[in-house]
Symmetry: C2
């Protein structure tokens, strides 16, 4: 018993285009191709198509389905991997939705206040840590400020500017990682934190406890918190958490 492509399409609910596509990529070749080029499918193909559709409905990709049906990989194992991916993606979207929700609340608050909007008007984004503000904020760490001031004085203006840009870029990447839903102790975030820590120690030696204290200042120090929150709501706390996690796992 053989069926032409349109018949199979009607039986299975997929389009003829899809069947041709599956044939093209080798997932479901027709049992026979007539002298006129027409595709014909047999019972085996229908069975295979059903397996494909079930796995597809479960969200597996076509290459993965091909591997499962070729019995090269265990289907339960494949589904378990897939399940983990689904949960991770769900959690990411959940965190992202939270960020978006908070951003909306911030924007509406700004709108009522008449204060400039942070997302649409991030004038201070590249200037969020201007030297004056930055150094003024360093009052919490007098000896750090002193040392840094001496180092900066020894640098060319170009070097100072470059360093500042680099810090800003790091902050932006951090904000993006946060908004993308990565938890503060996730690998990419920790890698960024590591880079920041190294940049900092290049200016002056910083002990683990001092670094933790600076992390807490991201939230506790008004000027710093404002600068971080101006970039993205929640960034101050996020950075503090990232620093805490970094100190816990890599500096202990």
């Amino acid at each position: 018993m053989e069926w032409p492509i349109a018949e199979v399409a009607r039986m299975s609910g997929v389009t003829a285009r899809t069947l041709r596509h599956y044939g093209e990529i080798g997932l479901l070749p027709p049992v026979r191709i007539g002298a006129n080029g027409h595709r014909y499918y047999g019972e085996c193909q229908l069975l295979r198509l059903q397996q494909i559709l079930v796995l597809r409905a479960l969200g597996l990709g076509l290459p993965e389905i091909g591997r499962v049906l070729a019995e090269q990989v265990d289907e339960v194992e494949a589904l378990r991997r897939h399940h983990r991916r689904l949960l991770a993606e769900r959690d990411r979207l959940d965190a992202l939705a939270g960020t978006v929700s908070r951003t909306i609340a911030e924007l509406e608050q700004s709108r009522k206040d008449g204060t400039p909007m942070t997302v649409n008007r991030p004038e201070n984004l590249f200037e969020g840590v201007v030297p004056s503000q930055y150094q003024e904020s360093l009052r919490d760490f007098p000896e750090h400020a002193e040392e840094v001031a001496r180092r900066v004085a020894a640098m060319t203006p170009q070097e100072v500017e470059a360093g500042q840009r680099e810090r800003t870029a790091q902050m932006i990447r951090l904000a993006e990682l946060m908004a993308a839903g990565h938890p503060a102790d996730a690998e990419p975030v920790q890698a960024e934190t590591d880079a920041r820590y190294r940049a900092l120690t290049a200016l002056r030696a910083v002990s683990t406890e001092e670094y933790r204290a600076m992390g807490r200042s991201c939230v506790d120090n008004d000027a710093w918190r404002a600068a971080y929150e101006a970039i993205a709501p929640g960034l101050a706390a996020y950075q503090r958490d990232a620093i805490e996690a970094y100190a816990d796992t890599r500096l202990s």
Copy 2:
């Protein structure tokens, strides 16, 4: 003050390729293009780039970002729409993960039992409602069976087979909707249920209560339940729920 592309890339953390891409699609054209073709960006472009990056980190697509920055659409409104999309996608993945999880459990159970696996071996998928089995199962609805038998006898074999294929295709679509995470009362599921109800009433008039009873039989009748569960675990109950919801909202 102008910066070449690599400088902007370093400052913002995106690649030069990305900047070129944004230029290509008109999202962020350089302020100036040198005689040698090199791109140069000014402060306005940096600001715009930051707005782009923030919105991008929140998950908006580039066309949407373009519309927001052109101030053609309200950003809070855009974010709210986006938020809804995020939640819907999260819920879909959540339901899908549940389906995958149940499928894994079924497969492991089958493996222990030695019973054939449902996903990998849906031999009876296109034969799940073979006429004999189907009519045998109709014992629960004697008068329905009688009427249907008379109608079927008056049809050509081709018509009978076509009707059967159509029912099978409908079941498969239903299974896919279920696996995709749609709740039983979701619109596409209800639309499918409507189609099935119409196909049924074409054979014989069916009252609301009779239809409800048939829905419950999907689970209660062993043969039917087996046929549905052979396609996808949970499909029997899913179909019953879909029919209940359909009877509630469209037949009352």
